[in-house]
C-alpha cells in the first residue's frame, strides 16, 4: 500500500488545529497587507452554450468563452435541469480549443498534387474545389450510376442536421449511404435478435438506482467519464460493482470484484450464470412465461414454432382466436393454448416451460413439440461452473458466488460494452446476458436491465423531414461491404451497387484509420475514381483524399444532438466565425447540389439549419412524440429533456402494460423491426432457417473466430484494441495538452509472462503482426494484462507508430451470416468484431 507513505490520517493534525473539522488559523505573518488585492477575471465577450460532438457518447453541454473573437476557455455548461447530470464533460472536451486552433487544423480546401496518400496538396478556392468534386461525382454518377458513390458519415446522434445533410443529399441524388452503428461493431446483434430493437439502454442516471452492477466488457472509467459517477453513487448507497474484464481496467480498480476472463468467452460465463440461478431456484418463471417466448411450442421435426393454425381443429383447449398465432401448453387446463402476438401475458394460466409433448396437426400427422425454454434449458445444462471455468478461466466457485450475488440483489443491472460486443459472436454473448436478465425479472425495471452502451448511434427524434426530402429515403448499404465487397450470404434486400464502388465521400469519420482490415479497404480505394474527405484535422484519411474540404468544428456551426446516455436534446450553436475558410456540411452539400442538380437544390437545399431543426421538432411533436412541446427557443437557452419517462428505461410498457415487443427503433418503421421478433415476445429461440442451420437457435457459446486464422496456435495472442481515455477514437490524438500527459507514443500492454517469453522489456519497440498487417509500437510490460492477450488502445494515428501504420491493419472484416438473416441498416446488419483478432508479438529492431 504505497499510499500509506504519503497519506496519514489527519486526526492528529485536526486535533492540533482544534476541532475535528480541523478549523485552522493561518500562523504566518508574511502577507505584507496584501490580503484581498487580487485582480478579477479578465472579461470576455460572451459564453456560448453548445454541445461537444466527437464520435463519443457523452453529448456534453459546453460553454465556449469568447474574447475578441477567439475561444479562450471551454468549460462544461453544467446547466442540466436534472442536476445529477452536471457538470458533464471530460478533459478532452475541455481541451478542444487546441483542436480548433491546433497545427493540424485544415484552413482551406485542398487539391491533391502528389500520389494518393502522399499528403501533398495545394490550397484551392472553394469554387475550384467544389467544381472539382461536382465534376468527379457527376461523372461517376452518369457512368456507373449514383449508387456506386459511397457516402460514409458515422453515427448521427452527434449531429442530426449536419450529418443528416449526407442522408438528404443521398436521397436526392441516389448515392449509397454507408452504415455506422454496425460498421463500428457497436450494433449489439443480440438486441435485435432477442428484443427486436436496434438497441435499448437505461439512461445513465438509472445506474444509481441499482443494487448490483455487473459490468462486462465495459470500461466506463475511461469511456463514460461524464456518467461513471453514477456507479459510485450506487456504491455509496450500498450497491456492489463487479467488473468482468481480461485486463485490470481502470474500472476494475473501482470495483468490489474484478473477474478476469479469457477474451471472447463471456457467453460461456453468462450461460453458466443462467444455469446457476435456475439450479438455485432464484429465477422467475412467471416473467419468462409472460414476456418471453419460453412457453411457445417448437416442433422437433422442422425446428420451427408450432402455429395455432397447424393444430387439428377442435383438439385445442381454447377456441382458435384470430390473435392466436403461436401455441403453448396450459398445465392448468391440460391442453394447448393459443398465444396472441398483440399482447403479452399468459399464456393460459400456467404454461408449461418444459417437457416434450405430441401434437396432432391438421392433416393428422403427430409431431413432438417442446417449449422453446426446454431447448434453452438443454443448452444451459451443459454449462456447469466447471465447464464454464474450462472455457473462461474464471474459477468455478467464483462463478457460483457471482450468480448468487447477482440473483440476490434486486434490482440488478448488467452493463455490457464494446469489449464483449466487438466480437464475431458478440450476438451470442448479448443473447446469453439478456437471458440472465430475463430469468431474474430484471427487464423493464429501474435499476435493472441489460444495457449495451456503445456509440452515439441513436436517432431519438423524427428526422424524416430533414433526412428524407419529399419522403424519399436514402439507400443504405452496410459499409463493411464497401471494405470487403459483397458476401455470398449477403441479404438480398441490401441495395449493393451493381457496378460496384467508384466514389467515396468520407465525412465526420477517420475511415482509413478506424475502419477494420485497412489493407483490404485500400484495395477498394484503388478502384475509386474520386475520394472526397470532409474534415477539420489533417488525418490519415484526409491524406488519401483527392479533394479535401475544410469542415467547421462544433464551435462554428449549428446542429441538434442527443445520446443514449442521457435523455436531453441539445443544440450546437456557433461560438466563433469559421476558422480559416472552413464551412459547415450543410453549406457544402448545398453548394454541391447547386452544381449537380440545381432544381432539387432549389427545392430541397435552400433551408438552413434552424429551419431543419424546427421541422424535426414539429414532426416529433405529435401526442407522445419525442419532441412534444419542445421549441427551438427552449433549446437555444439550454438542454431540454426529450418527452420520455423519468427515469428513461426501456421495455417498461412491455413489462407493465404487456404491450408486445418491440418498441419502435427510429428511424425505421415499426413493422421492419417487428419482423425480427415475430412472436412479439423476447425471443430466446430463433426459428429462422440460418439459426437452425448454424445451431444457434438458442443462446450458446462459440469460440473466438478470426476468419484468416486456421490454427490459433500460429497466432498465440489475442489483440485487444479498446477505447482510450485520452482520445475519442483517433480524435484528440493530436491534442497538445493531452499528449503532455500520456506522452503521445502508442504502447502495447503485454503480460509479464508473455513479455519474458519474448525477451521484451518496457520501452522496447515491438512488432505486432498477423495475416492482415503489422504495426511497430512500444512495449509496456503490465500486471494489468492477462497472459494470452495484448492490449493496444485503438485510435493512435499512423504517424504516431514507429511503422507509420495504424492498428486496424490487423483487425478483421469477417461477416457473421447470422447478421445477414434480416436486413435493416444499422439495426440488423453485419457488426464488426474488432477484438476478434489473433496476432504475434516480437521485439523489433531498434531505430
Amino acid at each position: 500500500m504505497r499510499r500509506r507513505t504519503f497519506l496519514k490520517a489527519a486526526a492528529a493534525s485536526a486535533a492540533a488545529l482544534g476541532g475535528a473539522a480541523g478549523a485552522p488559523g493561518v500562523t504566518s505573518l508574511v502577507n505584507g497587507g496584501r490580503d484581498f488585492d487580487v485582480a478579477p477575471s479578465l472579461p470576455v465577450d460572451r459564453a456560448v452554450r453548445t454541445t461537444c460532438s466527437p464520435n463519443c457518447t457523452g453529448s456534453c453541454g459546453q460553454l465556449a468563452f469568447v474574447r475578441d473573437g477567439v475561444i479562450v476557455k471551454i468549460q462544461q455548461a453544467a446547466d442540466y435541469p436534472d442536476a445529477a447530470y452536471n457538470p458533464r464533460g471530460c478533459m478532452k472536451g475541455l481541451s478542444y480549443l487546441n483542436q480548433v486552433y491546433g497545427p493540424d487544423r485544415i484552413m482551406t480546401p485542398l487539391i491533391r498534387e502528389g500520389d494518393r496518400g502522399s499528403g501533398t496538396f495545394r490550397a484551392a478556392s472553394w469554387e475550384e474545389a467544389l467544381d472539382r468534386v461536382a465534376d468527379g461525382l457527376g461523372e461517376i454518377g452518369r457512368r456507373w450510376g449514383w449508387d456506386s458513390i459511397h457516402v460514409f458519415g458515422q453515427v448521427p446522434g452527434s449531429g442530426y442536421i449536419q450529418k443528416g445533410a449526407n442522408y438528404r443529399a443521398c436521397a436526392l441524388l441516389g448515392m449509397s449511404h454507408g452504415t455506422s452503428f454496425d460498421f463500428n461493431g457497436d450494433l449489439p446483434m443480440g438486441m435485435p435478435i432477442t428484443f427486436g430493437v436496434q438497441n435499448a439502454e437505461h439512461e445513465a442516471k438509472d445506474w444509481a438506482n441499482s443494487r448490483f452492477l455487473l459490468l462486462v466488457g465495459a470500461n466506463p472509467v475511461e469511456t463514460r467519464i461524464p456518467d461513471v459517477h453514477f456507479l459510485f453513487d450506487a456504491a455509496e448507497r450500498g450497491a456492489r460493482i463487479v467488473v468482468v474484464d481480461p485486463s485490470f481496467s481502470p474500472t476494475a480498480s473501482k470495483a468490489d470484484a474484478h473477474i478476469r476472463i479469457r477474451p471472447g468467452t463471456d457467453a460461456a460465463l453468462a450461460l453458466a450464470l443462467c444455469r446457476q440461478v435456475i439450479e438455485d431456484g432464484t429465477w422467475s418463471p412467471d416473467f419468462m412465461r409472460a414476456c418471453t417466448d419460453a412457453p411457445l411450442a417448437v416442433r422437433a421435426d422442422t425446428g420451427a414454432r408450432l402455429r395455432w393454425a397447424d393444430l387439428e381443429p377442435g383438439r385445442a383447449a381454447a377456441a382458435a382466436s384470430a390473435a392466436g398465432v403461436y401455441v403453448a401448453w396450459d398445465e392448468a387446463a391440460g391442453g394447448w393454448a393459443p398465444v396472441p402476438i398483440d399482447r403479452l401475458g399468459g399464456p393460459g394460466t400456467n404454461a408449461a416451460l418444459e417437457g416434450t409433448r405430441a401434437a396432432r396437426l391438421r392433416g393428422g400427422d403427430v409431431v413432438d413439440v417442446r417449449p422453446g425454454f426446454d431447448i434453452v434449458r438443454e443448452e444451459l445444462d451443459r454449462w456447469t461452473p466447471d465447464a464454464a471455468e474450462a472455457v473462461t478461466g474464471v474459477p468455478a466457485e467464483q462463478i457460483v458466488k457471482l450468480a448468487r450475488a447477482y440473483a440476490a440483489a434486486r434490482p440488478a443491472a448488467i452493463l455490457m460494452g464494446g469489449g464483449s460486443n466487438h466480437w464475431y459472436h458478440g450476438d451470442l454473448t448479448g443473447r446469453a446476458f439478456a437471458l440472465l436478465a430475463a430469468l431474474t425479472g430484471n427487464i423493464g425495471v429501474s435499476g435493472g436491465g441489460f444495457s449495451v452502451y456503445v456509440g452515439q448511434y441513436k436517432v431519438r427524434v423524427d428526422t424524416s423531414p430533414w433526412w428524407s426530402p419529399g419522403g424519399t429515403k436514402a439507400n443504405v448499404v452496410p459499409s463493411i461491404y464497401f471494405v470487403r465487397g459483397r458476401t455470398p450470404t449477403m441479404h438480398p434486400d441490401v441495395p449493393y451497387p451493381e457496378n460496384g464502388w467508384h466514389g467515396l465521400v468520407c465525412t465526420f469519420a477517420n475511415m482509413f484509420v478506424q475502419a477494420m482490415d485497412v489493407n483490404r479497404l485500400h484495395e477498394t480505394l484503388r478502384g475509386l475514381e474520386q475520394i472526397v474527405v470532409v474534415d477539420h484535422q489533417m488525418t490519415e484519411t484526409v491524406r488519401w483524399a483527392d479533394v479535401v474540404l475544410p469542415a467547421t468544428t462544433w464551435y462554428e456551426k449549428t446542429d441538434l444532438t442527443a445520446t443514449p446516455l442521457h435523455p436531453f436534446l441539445q443544440l450546437q450553436q456557433p461560438a466563433i466565425e469559421p476558422v480559416g475558410e472552413a464551412r459547415s456540411e450543410v453549406w457544402i452539400w448545398r453548394e454541391l447540389m447547386r452544381r449537380l442538380d440545381p432544381a432539387k437544390a432549389a427545392e430541397f437545399f435552400e433551408m438552413d439549419e434552424e429551419a431543419a431543426i424546427e421541422a424535426i421538432l414539429e414532426a416529433g411533436s405529435g401526442d407522445g412524440g419525442p419532441t412534444a412541446g419542445i421549441t427551438l427557443d427552449q433549446l437555444k437557452a439550454g438542454p431540454v429533456r426529450l418527452n420520455v419517462p423519468d427515469p428513461d428505461i426501456p421495455f417498461r410498457r412491455q413489462v407493465e402494460d404487456l404491450v408486445p415487443f418491440p418498441p419502435r427503433s427510429l428511424p425505421a418503421p415499426l413493422e421492419k423491426t417487428a419482423a425480427f421478433v415475430p412472436t412479439g415476445r423476447i425471443e430466446f429461440y430463433k426459428e429462422e432457417p440460418r439459426f437452425i442451420e448454424l445451431g444457434e437457435t438458442v443462446p450458446t457459446y462459440r469460440p473466438p473466430f478470426d476468419d484468416t486464422v486456421h490454427d490459433p496456435a500460429d497466432w498465440p495472442l489475442t489483440l485487444l484494441t479498446p477505447h482510450s481515455k485520452w482520445r475519442i477514437h483517433s480524435s484528440y490524438a493530436n491534442n497538445a495538452w493531452l499528449a503532455e500527459i500520456h506522452g503521445g507514443r502508442p504502447e502495447v500492454f503485454i503480460a509479464p509472462a508473455d513479455a519474458a517469453a519474448r525477451g521484451i522489456a518496457t520501452g522496447d519497440p515491438v512488432r505486432v503482426w498477423n495475416t492482415r498487417g503489422e504495426v511497430v509500437a512500444w512495449a509496456h510490460v503490465s500486471e494489468s494484462e492477462q497472459a494470452g492477450s495484448v492490449t493496444l488502445y485503438e485510435g493512435w494515428w499512423p504517424r504516431q507508430f514507429r511503422s507509420g501504420k495504424g492498428v486496424n491493419e490487423l483487425t478483421s472484416s469477417a461477416v457473421n451470416p447470422i447478421h445477414e438473416v434480416h436486413f435493416v441498416g444499422n439495426m440488423w446488419s453485419p457488426s464488426t468484431g474488432w477484438k476478434d483478432c489473433r496476432c504475434q508479438v516480437e521485439k523489433a529492431s531498434e531505430a
Binding site: 504505497r2 504519503f6 505584507g32 499528449a739 503532455e740 500527459i741 500520456h742 506522452g743 503521445g744
Partner: protein, 421 residues
C-alpha cells in the same frame, strides 16, 4: 632556504618577458570575463531555460559555486584567525594571504547569486521586502557583513607596510611602536570576531538546505558541521596552493616546514569530513526510510561515480598522502593532496544538491512537470541535471573575475608579514 633563494631569483628576474606573461594573463582574464558577461546577458534575455536546470532540479551550477566559495572563504579565514588566536606563530607568513583569499572568495560567492536569479534586476527586493524567516535572507546578510569585515581585515594587515611605502591607502596613521602595538591588539580582537563569523557564514549557508523538511536528504542537523569541515578542507587546501604559487613567484617567503604543518592540518580536516559523511549517509540509508532512498541512490544512481570519487579520490587519496610523513614534507605532494581535496569537496557539494533534487519528494508517476515544452510527456519521475555551455561560460567569467582581483591584490598589496623588531 633554497625556496627563498629561488624566490629572490624569481623576483629579481622581473624581466620584460615576465611582464609580457603578466600582461597576457590579465588580458586572458578580461577576455573570459567579457565572454561571461555576454553569456549572462543572453541568459537574462532568453530565461534560465538556457541552463540545464528544470522544475525537478531547480538549483544547479550557480548555487553550487556559491556554496563552494562560501566554504573556501570561511575555511581560509578560519585558518588565518585560528593561527593568530592560538598563537601559532608559524602561520604568520600566510595570514595575509589567507585573509585575502577569504575576501576574494566571498566576493565571488556573492557574485554567483546573480546569474542564478530569474529576475536579477529585482535583486533589491531583498532589501525592500526582506523576509526575516528566510534562511536566504540570513545568509545574504551574513555574507555582506562578512565581506565588509574581511575587507577591513585585509586592509588592517596591509596598513603598516602601506604606511611605510607612504601609500595613501594607509590612511595616515604612522608606524610608531605604539600604533603598531595597538594594531596588534585590534588584529587579535578581529580574530575573535572573524572566527565565529566564518563559522556562522558557512553554517547559515548549510541551513539554507538543512532546514528544509521537504527535502529528507538534507533535513539533518549534521549539515552545518559537515559544511564547516568541508570548508576547512577546501579553504586550507586553497591557501596551501596559493601560498606555494606566490612563493614560486617570490611574492611570499616561508619554509617547507610550514607546508608540512598545513598539510598535517589538512589531513586532520579531511578525517573529520570523512567521519561526518560516513555518519550522515549511514544514518540516512540504514533505516531504509523513504528519506534514505536518496542517500542509497548516491551509491546506486547515475551519480554514483561522483560519490565514489568524492570519497575514494577526494578523501582517501589526500588522506593517505598527508598521513605519510615523508610525503607530507614534500610541497609537491602536499600541493597535489590539497588540489585533490578541493575537487573532492566540490564534488561533495555536487552530490549533495543533485541527489537531494534529482528525485521528486513525491515520486509517484507520472512525476513532476519539467517546466518547459519538450514534446511528448512533460512529466518526469527523475531528472539528471547537466550544466549547459552557457552555465559554464558564466561560471568561468566569475572565476576569471576572482583571479583578476587576486592577481591585482597580490601585485599591489604587500603579502609578506612585516618583520617586527
Amino acid at each position: 632556504m633554497s625556496a627563498i633563494v629561488a624566490g629572490t631569483a624569481a623576483s629579481s628576474s622581473r624581466s620584460s618577458s615576465g611582464r609580457r606573461a603578466y600582461a597576457l594573463w590579465i588580458v586572458f582574464l578580461l577576455g573570459v570575463m567579457a565572454a561571461g558577461v555576454v553569456a549572462f546577458i543572453y541568459q537574462f534575455r532568453t530565461g534560465l531555460v538556457v541552463t540545464g536546470m528544470r522544475n525537478t532540479v531547480m538549483w544547479g551550477q550557480y548555487i553550487l559555486f556559491f556554496m563552494f566559495f562560501v566554504g573556501l572563504s570561511a575555511g581560509g579565514l578560519i585558518v588565518a584567525s585560528a593561527g593568530r588566536l592560538f598563537g601559532v606563530a608559524a602561520f604568520k607568513p600566510i595570514t595575509r594571504l589567507a585573509v585575502l583569499e577569504a575576501t576574494v572568495a566571498v566576493m565571488l560567492a556573492a557574485t554567483f547569486i546573480l546569474p542564478d536569479l530569474g529576475r536579477p534586476e529585482r535583486i533589491l527586493n531583498i532589501l525592500l521586502h526582506a523576509n526575516p524567516t528566510s534562511p536566504m535572507i540570513w545568509d545574504i546578510t551574513i555574507v555582506m557583513v562578512y565581506l565588509a569585515m574581511s575587507a577591513f581585515y585585509v586592509w588592517l594587515y596591509a596598513r603598516a607596510d602601506l604606511a611605510r611605502r607612504g601609500s595613501w591607502l594607509a590612511l595616515g596613521t604612522g608606524t610608531s611602536v605604539r600604533t603598531m602595538a595597538r594594531e596588534e591588539r585590534i588584529k587579535s580582537a578581529m580574530a575573535w570576531i572573524a572566527l565565529p563569523a566564518a563559522i556562522m557564514l558557512h553554517s547559515i549557508t548549510a541551513w539554507i538546505f538543512g532546514l528544509q523538511i521537504g527535502r529528507g536528504f538534507w533535513y539533518t542537523s549534521i549539515m552545518a558541521p559537515m559544511f564547516i569541515a568541508s570548508a576547512l578542507v577546501s579553504g586550507t587546501g586553497l591557501v596551501i596552493l596559493l601560498a606555494l604559487v606566490l612563493r614560486r613567484f617570490g611574492r611570499l617567503r616561508f619554509g617547507d616546514d610550514l607546508v608540512a604543518l598545513l598539510g598535517g592540518l589538512l589531513g586532520v580536516f579531511i578525517t573529520v569530513e570523512g567521519f561526518f559523511i560516513l555518519a550522515e549517509y549511514l544514518t540516512a540509508s540504514y533505516p531504509g526510510a523513504p528519506e534514505g532512498e536518496a542517500a542509497a541512490r548516491m551509491l546506486t544512481g547515475p551519480y554514483a561515480p561522483l560519490f565514489l570519487f568524492e570519497v575514494g579520490v577526494g578523501l582517501v587519496i589526500p588522506f593517505v598522502i598527508l598521513a605519510v610523513r615523508r610525503l607530507r614534507r614534500d610541497p609537491r605532494w602536499v600541493a597535489a593532496a590539497a588540489a585533490i581535496g578541493i575537487v573532492g569537496i566540490f564534488v561533495h557539494r555536487l552530490n549533495l544538491v543533485l541527489n537531494g533534487l534529482s528525485y521528486p519528494n513525491i515520486g509517484l508517476p507520472p512525476g513532476l512537470p519539467v517546466g518547459v515544452a519538450q514534446g511528448g510527456s512533460s512529466f518526469l519521475t527523475s531528472y539528471w541535471y547537466m550544466p549547459t555551455l552557457v552555465e559554464w561560460v558564466i561560471v568561468s567569467g566569475v572565476l576569471a573575475f576572482g583571479a583578476l582581483l587576486f592577481t591585482l591584490a597580490v601585485r599591489y598589496l604587500p603579502m609578506q608579514e612585516a618583520q617586527a623588531h
